[in-house]
């Protein structure tokens, strides 16, 4: 899926990145709550050129019954990319990458959802990546959080996500596809803004101990920006034009 392009300039002498952004500038983000007629909750996000749709069903009966838990509801997450979402057509069957990302997103949402109130049920989160451009797991987690709130699933907090990283020895916010391929580090981070807990964290690349701390800090601040857009999406749908 594209090799490392040694000729691409990832950061020029004015501190401008390959797509014109400054080092702490996220791509354009748009989040919409709701939109699907049949799902119990849904959300749609555009994060740069990423286009991701999330549908939530639940809490609902679990089949097969042996998978249900008598003490608490369970969370199931399926992250799936459409064949036409990436450069080279992807076969419809789930890849190992999709399975890993499904698990990582599930574990990022579990601290937020309160399913002890719904024993013997499941909450299903279906993530569909319609178009991918680097950072899909963060955009997906962000939208999933909004879809869960839209479905009325009780939650301790929202979970917002973005990837920080490093190019040309500089820590940047919101890694795009080219930066992911050719840069020096990519750190997706998912964060609960009220409880102040990091629930998704992965790293790909090489960081010194100081860069590591700075990368986490930049990511957390980026999540707080994303959180404001999640809030806006829910406000726009449920509270009309009224604020409080």
């Amino acid at each position: 899926m594209g090799g490392r392009d040694a000729t691409m300039v990832l950061l020029d002498e004015n501190g401008i990145r390959c797509d014109g952004r400054k080092i702490d500038e996220p791509r354009k983000i748009m989040i919409k709550a709701g939109g699907l007629k049949n799902a119990d909750g849904s959300a749609y996000i555009e994060f740069g050129d990423n286009k991701i749709l999330v549908g939530v069903y639940g809490p609902r009966d679990v089949h097969p019954k042996h998978m249900s838990n008598t003490d608490t509801g369970i969370l199931r997450v399926r992250y799936h990319m459409e064949p036409f979402s990436v450069d080279e057509r992807k076969r419809p069957a789930p890849s190992r990458r999709e399975i890993e990302i499904s698990k990582v997103i599930k574990e990022a949402l579990e601290p937020a959802v309160m399913l002890e109130k719904f024993p013997r049920t499941a909450v299903d989160v279906f993530i569909e990546v319609l178009q991918a451009d680097g950072g899909t797991r963060c955009a997906a987690l962000t939208a999933a959080s909004v879809a869960l709130a839209d479905a009325g699933i009780p939650m301790r907090d929202m979970v917002a996500a973005i990837a920080s990283g490093k190019v040309a020895d500089t820590i940047i916010l919101d890694v795009n596809n080219e930066e992911d391929q050719a840069g020096q580090a990519d750190m997706p981070i998912g964060y609960m803004p009220s409880l102040k807990k990091i629930t998704l964290l992965q790293l790909d690349g090489v960081l010194t101990p100081e860069e590591y701390k700075e990368c986490v800090d930049v990511g957390v601040k980026g999540c707080e920006v994303v959180y404001e857009l999640q809030k806006k999406a829910l406000k726009d749908k449920y509270f009309g034009n009224r604020s409080d």
């Binding site: 699907l36 459409e82 036409f84 080279e88 279906f126 319609l130 451009d133």
Partner: protein
């Protein structure tokens, strides 16, 4: 569709009662399809794409065009494949995992409607005979359900193919390589249009919505091409049509199909 959830009996009775009076539950005429909304280029990074709303049924098709190896023994033809998948977010009864027989039927019917019309000429999709050909993949995903996936998926695939742009390739050092400035419209020869009709009691209704789909006894999907010829047909469901009914459906598919074809033509023109 076998995965339809239980319809309430009062609604079913109401649908039949209205049909006896020549009316439908959403106010349409019996031979009237719902409003079709087509959004071209919904996925800009794909070679072509279309999102179609047929009432509240919502589907999306993305077309990818890329070099591929030819099938053995068919070295002088490129590849065309059309798939359809129900996304689990589209309806509470859709399961993940290997597709059920009704979803496989849907995919094959949509593919057949387009393939049998010869809309995409696979003999024009050869880069080097026996070595490298062009593969055209139209993948349709269903996003929300309110009856009649067959037509919605068909319109999305057709609209996406009509507005697809393809690179041109040539062999360089035995590898298919993109020719600079060689992007062009994907050549297509006709506009296939499928029309699905359901039988409820003794009445034939065009484009059944979700409630009608759950109430119908059987259905037929008929695809016509730009010359008004019938190129593909599939009957489904557990009951049967009389010969007169099947003939009536054939006539309806041509009449209704012609109007929908105009809409697809418009979408094609707007994209150019």
């Amino acid at each position: 569709m076998a995965s339809v959830s239980v319809i309430d009996e009062l609604k079913k009775a109401q649908i039949l009662e209205l049909l006896e009076q020549g009316k439908r539950i959403d106010g349409r005429a019996l031979d009237e399809p719902r409003e079709i909304k087509i959004e071209i280029n919904a996925i800009p990074k794909a070679n072509g794409s279309a999102r179609v709303h047929l009432g509240d049924t919502d589907v999306l098709c993305g077309v990818k065009i890329q070099p591929d190896r030819p099938f053995p023994d068919v070295g002088d033809k490129g590849m065309f494949m059309c798939t359809a998948e129900l996304l689990p977010l589209s309806h509470p009864t859709v399961e993940t995992g290997p597709p059920r027989d009704d979803v496989i039927e849907l995919a094959r019917v949509v593919d057949r409607g387009i393939r049998e019309s010869h809309m995409v000429d696979v003999s024009q999709l050869v880069i080097e005979k026996d070595k490298s050909v062009v593969g055209v993949f139209a993948d349709v995903v269903a996003i929300d359900y309110d009856g009649n996936y067959f037509d919605a998926c068909s319109y999305a695939a057709t609209a996406a193919l009509l507005t697809s742009k393809t690179p041109t390739w040539e062999m360089v050092d035995d590898q298919p390589t993109v020719v600079e400035g060689g992007e062009k419209q994907l050549p297509t020869s006709t506009i296939p249009v499928s029309v699905t009709m359901g039988k409820i009691g003794n009445h034939i209704v065009v484009d059944p919505n979700g409630d009608e789909w759950a109430s119908m006894d059987c259905r037929v999907t008929i695809t016509t091409d730009s010359d008004g010829h019938i190129v593909a047909l599939q009957k489904g469901g557990s009951d049967g049509f009389t010969q007169d009914e099947i003939n009536e459906c054939g006539d309806l598919s041509i009449k209704v199909g012609a109007k929908i074809r105009e809409q697809l033509k418009l979408a094609q023109q707007e994209s150019q």
